[in-house]
Structures are given as C-alpha cells and as structure tokens.
Subunit: 380 residues, 4 copies
C-alpha cells in the first residue's frame, strides 16, 4: 500500500483547507486551538434546525454539545424527541431558565422568531452566538417592527449582530460575537444575486423570484396545513406578497446595489421534506451577456467549497444537495433577449439553516470553515 | 321524501346545462341525439392519456369504446396493461394497422408526437377526431418543422385542424372534424392570459412564466430520469429555453394580441404524479389594476363549468383539481408596482389532456360539454 | 351512429344492475322511487370521511345534501374547509345543535368515536343512519367498554344496529334503520377471510395479519406525528398489540367460525394518502389447497361489482383501487406447506369508509347498490 | 475552553473504538497501519450501490478511490452520472476490461448478479474483495444453480468466500480475502433471528416474514414498473413465493439452527427511496417469553455500534435510519399467546449494501470497523 498523501491525514478538512481564504486572517479573539474542545449549547433543540445541528455536530471534531434546551420537552431525553439520534450521547433537555451556561463556550439559538431577542439579551456576554431565528437579520429595527408587528426588543444587540451569509461576509463573521444566520430563501437568492448586482451586471428593476421550498421550512409545529395528507403530491404558492424573507433579501440586494431594490417574490411549498430551489428572472445590464454572468459567478465562487457553479447547461436539482451544505447554481439564457434565468438550490435545513450556522461558528472560532460539514448529498 | 327538483333528473349534466353557452348553437352536422351511442376508438391506448380517456368514459352516458389500439401490446387485454381498469368491459388491444374503423364514429388519438400525422391522414373521412399529440397544434407548418425537426407530413389536415382550447374556441370546435387538443402547459397558461391580452389589460413584453408539472406529463416510457428513485422528494427545471410547448403558447398569445409575443418559459418537474401549476408574472397596461384583471377574468369565466376564478386571496393548489377537469386560477398583486402574478392549476392528464379531449368531442357531437366529466377532485 | 344498447340509458347503474343480487328482495319499508330525491345530512362534515361523502354524492342521482354540520367550523362555507369541492352547491356548515332535521331523510354520521352514541340517540326516529364511527360496531357492549374505556352510552341502539359489511350482510342492511359502517382494516380483512372461515377452508388458529394503511386513516387532526415531514418516505408499525380494529375483526371472524378467534394484527402506517393493504398469513384446513381457497372466493364474489378476485398470480396494488369502491384480492401459495397468503387492497376512505357507507344507504333506501359509486380508480 | 477529552482527538472513530471487539485480534495478513492509504477500485460504479460507496468513502480517512468502472458509461466523469457527487475528486469511469489494478489494494464489486463470478475470477490474487452481488452468497452451488438458472462459474472462489454479515461472522470476515456482502432483506432478517435461533428461543417452524423495501433496492435500471408515476403513493407485494433472497435467509437460519429452516417470505415494494422494514412473526419455544427474546438480543448486541435494540415499546421506523449504517430493532408481544413479533429496520443501501461493505473491508484491513461510517440518520 502506498503512503497516505500529504493533506489527507485529517479526515474532515481535506482538500479544502489549502484553498480556504481564511489563512491570511488574524481574528481579534484568539482562535480555539486545533484539538481543543468548544462546548456548545443548543437552545430550542426540539425543532428541526436543532436536530440538524446535532446531526452535523456528530462528526465535528471540536464542537461538543453540553447543554440542550426545549421548554416543552424539559426533562426528556433528546432521543425520545428525535429517535433517529438515539445513538448520540447527549445531555438531557432542560428548560431554558434552568440551563447552566457556565460550561458553555458558544450557542446555537434555534428558537422561534420573536422570543429570541430577550433570551439572547440574557445570555452571558462571553458566549459566541449564532442565532438561527429571524430576530437579528434586519439591520433596520423600524423595518423589523413593520414586518414582525412589535418593536425590536434588543436594539443594542441588533447593532452588534453580523449577518451570517458566509461567503459574502466572511471577514465580518470571523470577528462577530453574535451572528444572525440568514433565512433559507435569502441564502439561496443572495448567493447568486449579490455578486451580480455588485458587479452591476444585472438591472435592479424587475427582479422576479419564484422559489420552491420543502416542508421542513415550516417547522415541526402540528398544523393541519402541513399534514402529510394535505401536502403530499402537490404544490401551492403562499405568502405571495408578504413573506417575511422579503425584507431580508431586499436588504442584502439593496446593500449590494447601494440603492433600494424591490423584488417580486413568490414562494411555493412543495411535497418534499428538504430542499429549496430559487428561480430568478433578471434583466441584464446593457451589453451584458449570459456568459458574462456565468464568468463572474465562476470567478466569485471558484475557491469556495460549498458554492458550486455547474458546468455547461447542467440544471441544479434540489435532490443533489440534500443533506449537504452545498449551494449549486447555474445561469441560463432566456428566450426574451436581454434577460437571464438563474437557478440555485440548497438544502433548506443545512446551507439554509443549521449547516451555515456551523460554518459560521467555525469561522468565529478560528477553525477551518468546513469542519464537521463535509457530508456529501444523500441521493437517491 | 320530497320530489326530485327540476334539473336533477339527469345525473351527469345537472347544474351546468342551464348556464352552458351552447344552447343558441346549431352545428353544421346534425348532433348525436340524446341517448344515442357514439362509438369510440382510442388509438395509443397503452399510455397515460389513453388510460385516462378510458377512466373518464367509464361514466359517459353516450360514448362507448369499440376499438383500442396499442402496437406493442397488440393482443393483450387492456386490463393487463392498466390493472386499475380491469373491471371495465373493453375490446382487446389491436395493432393500429389491424383496427376496424367501420364500427367507429369518433377517435381519440393518443399516439406519440410525430407519428400521428400520417396515421390520421389514413383514417376514414367521416370520423371525428380529437388528437392529443402536438402534431396539429401549430398552425404554421414552418414553425412545426423548426421545433420538431422534420417537415409536417399532413399540411392539408393542418389547415383543417381546429385548436381545441375549449373555453376560448368553443364555436370553432363545435364545427370541427379534427381538433388538435392543447398541451397541458399551454392550457394552463392561455386560459388566464388570452382574455387579459385580448382586453389589452397586460403588456405583451416580459411575460414570464414559471410552470411546474407532475411526472405523468412525461408519459409511461421507461426512462432512468423518471424512476421513482430519481424523482421523489425533489424539483428541477428542464428545457429552460426550448420546451416544445413554447411555440404553442406564443401562437395563442400572439393571436390574442394580434402581434408577435415572445415569452419567458421555465418548466419544472416536481415529485407528484398529476398536477400542473403555472405562475405568470406580468406587467399591467398603464392605469390597470389587479382588480381590473380579476374582474375581467371573472366576467370571462362566470358561466363556465370548468374554469373557476377563486375568491379573495385564495391560492390555487394543484391538489385541489386532481382527477377533475377544472382549472382553478387567481390573480395577485406583486410587490413591484404595476406588476401582477397570476396562478392557474389543472390536472395535466384531465383538463391538460384527456378531459379537455372529451369536452371537445362532446361539443363536436352536439352533446352537453360536461357529459362524462363531472368528477370532483380527489383530495386528499 | 348506432342506437344505444339496452341497459345503457342510465349512466351510473349500467352493467351491474342485471347481476345485482338485490332484485329478489322486498324491503320492509317502501323503497325510495326511481328519481325521487333523498335528503341527506352529513354530520361531522369537516373531516376526510365527510368530504369523501360529498365527493361521492356529487354524482349520485338521488341523494342530495341538505344539512352539513361541523361544530368548530359552524358558519363557514364547506368550500373554505375543503377548497377542492368549491364548485359544489352545498348548505353552509352549522353546529350540530343548530341542525334542522325536518328536511332530512337520511344521515351519514362522520363524527369522532365516542361522541356519536349520544348524538344518534337524539336524532329523529324516522331517519335512516349510517354511522362511520366505531361506536356501534361491537355487538358486545362489554367489549366496547373494555376497548374504549367507558360504558356504552346507547346500548338500546347497539341492539338495533346492523354491521354494514355490505357483501356479507346485505339482507340485514336492507332492513336496517341504523348501520354501523365497518372500519377500514376490518373491511379489507373480513371480505376475504369470512367466506373462507365459514367454509372451514382455513384454520382458526394462527391467523396472522400484517396490514398497511395510508395516512388519511389517521384523520385530519393536527398531530406532529402525521406531518408531511414525519411521514414522507417511510413506514412504521403502530398499535401492535392493541389496535381498536382488533375486536371488530375478531367479532366478524368469530361469528363466521361460530367460535372465538384471536388474531395477530400488526398495522403499519405508510407514506401514502389513501390505500390499504392487508396481508393475511393463514394455515389451510387439512387437505385444502390454495386452489380451493381461490375457487371459493371466486364463487363467493362472482356476481359482486365491488369485490374482485384477480386472475392468476396478479398481485393487488393499493394504487389500483384509489378513489374507487373496489376491493381487489388474491390468494398465493406459501413456501411453507399447508399455508396460504391472502392479499386484499382497498381505498381506506372509499370501500373502507364513505364509499361503503353510500353503498349501505343505497341498500337501505331500496336503490341500486352501486348508485353514485361507479368511479374508476385514479391511476397514476 | 476546556481541553479536549481523551478519545475525542480522532473524529470518526470516537466512542466506539474502546468498545470495539476487534482489539484482541491478530489478523493473518498484516493490517494496514493507521494513516496508511488503501487504494480502492469500485467496479460497477454507475449504480446506486456504487454511488453509495463513493458517498461513504468521501469521509473515510484511509480509503481512497483510484479506479472506477462502468462499462456503458466508460469515458464519462462520475459527476455526470451522479451529479450529487460532482464535488468529489474521482478518477474517470473506465470499462472493466481497461481497468488497471496495479494501483489498487481492494475492490468493491457492485456489478449485477450473474456477471460477477467470472470478473472476480480474473482479478489479481492479492486484492481484497467485497462483492455486493448475490454471486457468492449461497454456499451450496447447487442451490445457486437452482435459484439463478445457471451453473456457478467460480465454484473454487465460492469455497473461499466468507459471508459478510458483520456482527455475526466478524472473525471470519477479518481473515477473508473475498467477502460476499449480504442482501438487504437477509441482513434485516438475520440480525434479529440468528441469535434467537442459536439460543433456541424461537421455534423453527412457521417463521413468517412480511418485509417492505424502498425502491432503490430495484436498482437504477429504466423499468416502467419503477417509474415515479407507477410507484408513488402505494404499496404492493411481489415475488411472493420466489424472491432470490429466500435461499440466503434460509441458509443463515438453517446454519444457526443446525437444521433445515423453511420460511414464509413476502416482500413488498413501497413508495420510498431508501429504507427496509422486516416484520417477523415467530412462535416462541415452550416457556420462553417476549422478555427472554428481548434480553437475549440486548446482551447479543450490547457492545455493537450499528445494531440497536430500542427501549421499551419503541417501534423502529425506517425514517430513523436513512443514510446511516444502523439496524434498529425491537420485539413485541403478540395477541396470540406464545407468539412474538420482531421488527427491524435498515437503510437498504447502507447496512443493507454499501455501508456493510465498507464495514467489512475495514475489518479485512484491520481498521476500526466504524471508520468512515459514522453518519447519523438524515431525518426528516
């Protein structure tokens, strides 16, 4: 047998470490050392994003879960709430008010929207936090109030929060204490559109987005509308004008454009558990071709491990990223001259939630960004 | 018990007879009399549209199947090809060359695209024909040649063929001998857009359509790409620029506009057996509001049995029309001022194929249009 | 065109009227006349079995719904609860206490188990009632109390109630005022086993049943366990020892055997909306062969419209009966000598619930048993 | 931050190394050293089991794929055949006749049944081989000939081949050069039944098995019967008497029993991609209780990483093992005295195929058995 090649001795970070852009970087806080353990609390562990954090961390070499909270399931074993994870050695669920954070270095906050602001306000200051709710995603607290129907409850934290779209805001995330992890739709939309807008390759008017989501996006709450019998074998649009991810997307695109962008956004719920496809219909700037869009996305994401521009006319399928942290995308010519169609796919629970959250905490801890995230998609 | 109310004595035509627009009409050929039997041939009966014709006709009071062809299954019983229909008393499958048309009044032609032109050319002249293939849908045989890669093989029949979008071309269909039954995407798109374009309520530029189809649209051919394992739990776009339904839609919209219309059309295949949703992003004409669109569609389809504009902000779901001949639609305001979003849903095998075919033959035979079609959707 | 053949003038009763066994029969009460309207109340119309009654009756020539109740949805239109049925002209939902039964001839009672006994007790005496709950299925009220945890609340009605397994108890049902419509599992199991037991062709010991149900069997209640995300792409057994359909099956088999039968029964929930398969592993009586079982089932069900023994080694598929009132079944040789395997399939909402209920009320009204039930299965 | 605990420095082998039974063992051939690379060939890489090997090895620290064959796809990139794995750096596909084995240490043979015997005969002698086909599973070549319709083509290799049911035959597998990887049904059935039979806790007569499989078990071949449209939303039994996994199961049970065992075996195909459930109805030996069965399985599998006996009355769900190498099982009391019901679930592509294959090659190479296999199930 041959000797193992250089760079393969560490399982989970092979291949991408070399190309990772973070090497030139010195974080403000001393990074966790290689091999050192980071003690993790998962708040709101009884929902799907919480369970997904647990699944991903099962193979993370340095993150270890020491606290798990779930108010309505307090006292239960995690394996009774999520039997697919019974083999994991985990702390029992406690109510958040009973959680002991003295043994914790970092927090994944998987609580419902609205409740999170006050809870995070109450956490010890030294903790690093990735919040998977929408509570800190909108920089403008007036916009927050408008979309969520109540005043923001932690405006000072909002100032501090960094928006966690990893590939776009990597450097800010590294230095952050509190990261607002992006929504699933916003992740799948901004990854292709932000660089194209920054490069002024597409027009800001008439950006039309038809997006399709799997049902895990709706959470684990018991609702008639999400029963198997109501969802299987069908599709429907919802929240056509007023989906709460709209201001988040418009914030990101407007910043990239340095001018206000208003999008058309139609989300659809389809009969799949995981997966998200965003189809974006855009007008190109004068003189710009589809090939220009393609080349710009190619150079933007060339070194990235988790964002992949497909070759040629290959169409991204949601099935091809399930269970992984990948975003696959591609650009297509439209029949209408001057227009292009961009399609991106992610697993809404991974790159659209818990996977990107782990990616962000890796960065915040000075660890390789892909640590614990090298799951290949599960297909079929 | 009370006496049965007037209008309820005939099962399958209740309710709609009164409102049906066909009463003022005198067809050129004498219509089949009430109670008289129409003998039907189904050509290409081993595919899904053929089976669906059989299912629908099981309760048609005047159509009776006397001939069924399926070249590769010749000699077999239909019930061995489609075991869900074993209870039906049907003729055995024969090769098309062995079919005896002396006992036939009308034909549903469910053959693959391309083969149909010559076969229909060879049928006895007195037969009424509804062709479910794409072979006679494009009026311009040059356009046919361009999209299908070979010269049209029956240009004289193409002249005669009437495009069978029932609600739009009802009068022409009544007098037709040969009807080209519309494709599924074109049906779902033209039903809302043709009246809006005719009324000049929407602009002709930048009509963007994102459509989603169930897998029966791909037929029963054994292809790796359509295996359960490849399709379940996912979505992907396909034929992004070049789907063959594009020229059919553009033909219909251009005629309505009396000027050439070019659409953006992105079809998606999703993990459901039946169902189709078309989402249409349009720019309204200056001064027009979403309410104007709604009112126009409302008055257009008010008397129709099979086209239903939903109330208020109700969103059409594909699940709510499965198994039925209905098209449900609605109109929504876009976030971008001056734009509207229109959503329509059909069962691609019924209103998008075999149901509309039966509806058309009913008309051609002078029968109530809804005869044999009053299946309510199967939900859940 | 030829003249319509004799026997085809009435759509919905063709073919089977001639072979229907009910012709020799004189019901105690004068049957409803042909063409006369039967006014129907549907109690508990907001669940799946209620909606299915509405779907089936849409094409019933003599049943018309005049009252619909749904306590929690009182005041709503039925079409807002079940949008797939918006085209139906139906009375609004009322609370059961506000229902006016003066305009009602017969009742489908689709209420939850347990609440039904007192409600039916309070209904006017002249109404004919088909109860789809389990409340009157167990003849022995002690057994009821044991399985349902409370004393029976209408023991005098229990005496009167006739068990509605149509093909087995047709004559009793014709004369009944109150029919206890069978459960879905019991229907799929008793149809094959009761005749085999009566004929003493199979042993009474070690009857092992592995059954699989679609999720509509669990109703429309919002439960975490029945979310799309929890159910899709999987199977699990449940209620392994204590499913409440067990005493109902054992009652039927014991009566057929004229001796107590104890079964092994393992139900499974699988990721499909409709459908039920029961696989029965039985020991044959000494000297009996699989062919004997087959022949006996064949002669038992030869004239039946809704129970079909498949030919040869054809295996019943749940997909082949969806949306229809059929039960398909077949018998197979086991590898273990002396044993046989019997498989039956039904649509749990039709033959397993609402379809059989309509079939029973047809009988009770002296109408052709298949009236309004001639839906062919919806496949694919 | 705390120092990382002992035993956590290596990602993929944590927890279970300590309890792994292989430490007392000295293999005949020197094991591969920690960190040394094993070069792997995957033969027949264009099927689902081949793709699954690639997915699993993506995180294997010591196995590296250097050769991939797929005759009909020779010359293509693996990522064009399985786009979900495009991020993997893999050799191009070659025809098997062109494969260069000089750079290979071990082979996963994922070829179709029947072709494998001659191909393996032609491979270099020094290679270690795990064959995922059925070609070497039956020790008795006469039985092979009977079930597969042709004489065995490599009887001398059959003598050498070790049956790869890891937890049952671990020691033999460690010393093997050629391992016949078990079938999916046989894995799910033998894991619970072999120890119970060995301990004489269940009777050998009347072992009745009703098993349910996902559709990946049928492979990637383009067959009408396996189209999405034919499979979705349904279940059917198949191969009721003659499934080819029967002799494999009977071989294993007979060896455990030291006497011939004949089973009743009914496989079902259900609408899910991955997953398998086997339900086993057994008669207990006189005086034995369900608790005895439970305790014996508990002690048998106590130290095992991949076989888990659930607590209490928890029912194994197929969804809870998808994507992982786990087998979950439990034992239940039957209503019929003296009988028990045993349910086991696996992912048919992992523990039922490629996962167990990796587990076996780990053993054959002297590596920790769980290396590269610590994927937690993907739920939902």
């Amino acid at each position: 047998m041959s000797t193992l090649k250089v760079g393969r001795s560490s399982v989970c970070v092979r291949a991408s470490i070399a190309s990772s852009p973070q090497k030139q970087y010195s974080p403000k806080t001393p990074a966790v050392k290689s091999g050192e353990e980071v003690r993790i609390a998962v708040l709101g562990a009884s929902g799907y994003t919480g369970a997904e954090i647990v699944r991903l961390l099962a193979n993370h070499p340095q993150f270890r879960i020491t606290v798990m909270t779930a108010d309505r399931k307090a006292g239960e074993q995690f394996g009774s709430v999520f039997p697919h994870l019974i083999t994991q050695d985990l702390p029992n669920l406690v109510a958040i008010k009973d959680a002991d954070f003295s043994d914790v270095d970092a927090v994944f906050c998987c609580l419902p929207h609205g409740t999170t602001q006050e809870i995070i306000k109450g956490l010890p200051q030294q903790l690093k936090i990735v919040d998977l709710s929408a509570d800190f995603r909108l920089r403008d607290i007036n916009e927050y109030a408008e979309w969520y129907g109540h005043a923001h409850r932690a405006p000072e934290l909002q100032e501090e929060a960094v928006y966690g779209l990893t590939e776009v805001l990597r450097d800010e995330i590294r230095n952050a204490r509190l990261v607002a992890n992006p929504g699933c739709y916003p992740t799948s939309i901004q990854l292709p559109l932000v660089p194209l807008i920054k490069a002024k390759l597409i027009k800001l008017s008439n950006i039309i987005i038809d997006a399709k989501s799997g049902v895990t996006g709706a959470g684990r709450g018991a609702k008639e509308a999400n029963l198997y019998t109501e969802i299987a074998e069908g599709i429907h649009a919802y929240g056509i004008k007023g989906h709460r991810h709209v201001p988040e997307v418009e914030q990101g695109l407007s910043e990239a454009a340095e001018s206000k962008v208003t999008i058309s956004f139609t989300p659809n719920l389809i009969c799949m558990k995981r997966g998200m496809q965003s189809t974006m219909f855009v007008e190109m700037a004068p003189g710009v071709t589809v090939s220009d869009l393609y080349q710009h996305l190619k150079s933007t994401y060339e070194g990235e491990e988790f964002v992949k521009l497909l070759n040629g006319s290959n169409v991204p399928h949601t099935r091809h990223v399930v269970g992984s942290n990948y975003c696959f995308m591609n650009v297509f010519e439209d029949r209408i001259p001057g227009r292009a169609i961009i399609i991106s796919v992610i697993d809404n629970l991974v790159k659209g939630a818990s996977g990107q959250a782990v990616q962000n905490l890796n960065l915040m801890m000075g660890l390789p960004e892909n640590m614990g995230l090298q799951y290949q998609p599960l297909f079929p």
